[in-house]
């Protein structure tokens, strides 16, 4: 049998042993996973980012404007000593600042405005009937928004509306839970398929 499959199969069983409880076999597999996954990520980052986007274009391609991000990156090394650690705040400031600059139009456009537009539907159908689904969506959005209203205690009318909002929330959480169960079960099916057919050769 392929040595790779044997190793993969044994490691699979080692991780599953955590279901019983934390144990030395699991701990060994866990430590290996952590180490190998950091190593993998390190190599990929080196190859994709530092080599391909910084050192190659800077030192062989002569793209001098890359000196700015290079300098910013080096400032991160300030963290190695408590005296210089404040230097690392500058590259972090660039990340956080530009992240905020991207987030504002993105959050407003795609999250808020687009979701608002999609909520608006005529409440009467073309044949003159009440558009029940459209009304439910509108009421759902309004009630749930009321649940997220923080400036006043949820009493009286606001309280009743917000409470209806929690029902909508619960319906949503229930539906999501249901769909996610499907997904998680598929993953287990995949693992069991591997164990049964590749590792133990019980099926094909």
């Amino acid at each position: 049998m392929d040595i790779g499959i044997i190793i993969a199969g044994l490691l699979t069983l080692a991780i599953f042993s955590f279901l019983y409880r934390d144990n030395p076999v699991y701990k060994m597999a866990e430590s290996l996973l952590i180490g190998v996954s950091i190593g993998y990520f390190l190599v990929i980052t080196w190859d994709n980012t530092l080599r391909a986007n910084l050192f190659d274009p800077l030192f062989t391609g002569g793209e001098i404007d890359l000196l700015i991000p290079f300098g910013l990156g080096l400032l991160m090394f300030g963290r190695f000593s408590s005296k210089t650690s404040a230097l690392s705040r500058i590259p972090i400031a660039v990340l956080i600042g530009s992240g905020a600059g991207v987030a504002i139009p993105a959050m407003l456009g795609a999250r808020t405005l687009a979701q608002m537009s999609a909520t608006v539907q005529p409440l009467l159908t073309e044949s003159g009937w009440l558009n029940v689904s459209g009304l439910v969506v509108l009421v759902g959005v309004l009630c749930t928004l009321a649940y997220f209203y923080f400036s006043r205690e949820h009493q009286g009318t606001l309280g009743r509306v917000a409470k209806t909002g929690t029902w909508f929330l619960m319906i949503f959480f229930g539906t999501t839970f249901g769909y996610t169960v499907m997904s998680r079960m598929s993953t287990l099916i995949g693992r069991v398929e591997f164990l049964l057919s590749d590792f133990l050769k019980l099926t094909n």
Partner: protein, 207 residues
């Protein structure tokens, strides 16, 4: 000085990126890409080196103290192994680097993921109690979805699935919309405060 400079840098970059979002000129687009793509990645890569050094330090200290020694050594060896393989034989198609990834890392990760199926079952057993009206609504909605997506044929396909789909596209979706709008607003104001320099926690707190 230790606070002012980063705060200023942060505000300027925020404003710059925000403005660039609305511009169409090639120069604007190029700058936007340069900052978001190259700056982000390169700074992140250096931060990763800092993170890895800290990881190694924490583990070496533990090895010295003798706490969980074998496990810590395995972690460190695993971390060392990947760059060594990559430097020796490359990372392409049939390299040992990818072999370790495929036969060690991927199966373990997929199995940790598969643990979720068991946790879903135990959480369903433990957490889905009809304690109150909202909890009952949660439970019924979950049951409805699960039933509708099981292939039980006949009755299910004809009656339960349409009802479940209606619930999914209407009441359920409306709640998610409102959550999205709310998160959008929360993110928006947080980002504004970051750019305006009112939000300073990331500098270690601003009080």
């Amino acid at each position: 000085m230790r606070r002012r400079v980063p705060q200023l840098v942060c505000g300027l970059f925020g404003l710059l990126i925000f403005t660039l979002h609305f511009l169409t000129s090639d120069q604007a687009h190029r700058t936007y890409r340069l900052i978001l793509d190259d700056y982000y990645q390169i700074v992140f890569a250096f931060a990763l080196l800092v993170g890895v050094v800290s990881f190694i330090r924490v583990n070496l200290k533990a090895v010295e103290r003798g706490k969980d020694r074998p496990y810590r050594i395995v972690s460190l060896l695993g971390l060392l192994l990947m760059p060594v393989l990559a430097m020796g034989w490359g990372i392409g198609g049939d390299s040992p680097f990818l072999w370790v990834f495929d036969n060690v890392q991927v199966p373990m990760q997929a199995t940790v993921f598969a643990l979720l199926a068991f946790y879903v079952a135990s959480a369903s057993f433990r957490g889905f109690r009809a304690r109150s009206l909202p909890a009952t609504v949660l439970l019924l909605s979950a049951l409805l979805t699960l039933l509708s997506r099981s292939d039980l044929g006949g009755f299910m396909a004809e009656y339960i699935t349409p009802v479940a789909d209606w619930v999914r596209y209407n009441p359920s979706m409306s709640a998610r919309r409102a959550i999205l709008i709310g998160i959008g607003l929360g993110s928006l104001t947080t980002s504004l405060r970051v750019i305006l320099g009112i939000e300073r926690t990331w500098l270690g707190g601003g009080k």
